[in-house]
Point group: C2
DNA sequence: CGTCGATGTAAGAGGGCTCTTACTTGCTAA
DNA sequence: TTAGCAAGTAAGAGCCCTCTTACATCGACG
């Protein structure tokens, strides 16, 4: 791993990750390319390869950062939501919608199949911590078994991801729905899921 | 529109659409290319352009077929589900998971932003019919206003799409979940959403 | 102050994709 | 039976992408 010291560019490694988020948020994973990220930072198309062996290594770093940031956003949202465990878990769905819409990097990036082949402890640790955060929020609602807790987390994420994904694809566009509208609806839906012990 | 008569290939136009579904189901929209579809049918890469002016026109036809097929699958599932309106709507979520996983073409294809520019009455009619089917199912549950009905449909689709999308991205892979498992969980979640009048 | 190594660039090989053009094949219908 | 046209092919232009190689730059440190 390269150092973080400022050289010619300053800190190209971090800048590449940040610019990747911008590109993902604007154009989605389909349009993501190393060359486009480099263009955006006005560096040569070879420059990223000084910091990442290949495209997937960059995406892997983006994935790690996404898991970390998303986990923090979810924790913050839960703490803002108050003390009711169900509200706290539901708030995670809202945080997912807002954060992933802003960054373009949700579970479809965090768990992108191409990245499975890369053994990166940092990324694994961040995704694990993210899941732990969610599992803790779910367990606090009083789920019985661990299995039930997992199912509840997955249902919550499915709702959040579904709203986010449809929003990104323009499904709600005609109604001029804002991100906050969609996030609020995801929270409502996630909230209803809780007592159901899905 | 070309005719459907059998020439050299037989019916390349229909075959292209069918092969597009296969490719989408296997590799997703990200890997979709006209060249890959042609390869799959063992025709030259120029052949598709005899039937579709460009890549988006092919996707547009796929989108129309997807809306039609998905609508039929949802209707069939609702009829199998029985007479309880809430069960019938929830069954649509299950049909969505199964059908879209099998074909690779859900709302992310049906409402793909690139296709908005194409004025295709057939496609518009099929997507409209699909939405009508869903709105009818939702209205039967006793929603008050049209606005409430729309919100309920969108919530149902969000749940179904979320589970489908996460499943496709491998989120559930480690637990060896089958499509039917995921579909069942989507139905449960959708069912819970109904009385909530989301 | 001069060397070394990290960081960046220019250039390009190699590949895939979209779409076009000119040519070929073979069904259909007069 | 043969002209005409729908449908397919071969070839390639033009574009973007990934990743490599050889060279340039510049800060750090002896």
């Amino acid at each position: 791993m390269p150092t973080n010291r400022a050289y010619h560019h300053g800190d190209l490694r971090a800048a590449l990750i940040a610019a990747s988020f911008d590109l993902l948020a604007e154009s989605g994973l389909r349009r993501f390319s190393v060359a486009a990220v480099a263009r955006r930072l006005q560096v040569s198309s070879a420059a990223p390869y000084r910091h990442f062996a290949d495209r997937n290594q960059l995406l892997n770093a983006v994935s790690a950062a996404a898991a970390e940031d998303l986990g923090a956003a979810i924790k913050a949202a839960a703490d803002t939501a108050g003390s009711d465990p169900a509200d706290r878990l539901a708030a995670a769905a809202g945080a997912y919608v807002r954060h992933v819409t802003a960054t373009g990097a949700g579970f479809h990036v965090i768990f992108a199949a191409e990245l499975y082949a890369i053994a990166d402890d940092a990324r694994r640790e961040h995704t694990r911590a993210l899941m732990t955060t969610l599992l803790d929020l779910a367990a606090a609602t009083g789920t019985g078994s661990y299995q039930e807790t997992v199912l509840l987390v997955e249902a919550t994420i499915a709702v959040a991801h579904g709203y986010t994904s449809l929003h990104a694809d323009g499904f709600f566009a005609r109604k001029a729905s804002t991100v906050d509208d969609i996030a609020a609806r995801a929270v409502e839906a996630a909230r209803v899921l809780v007592p159901a012990r899905l």
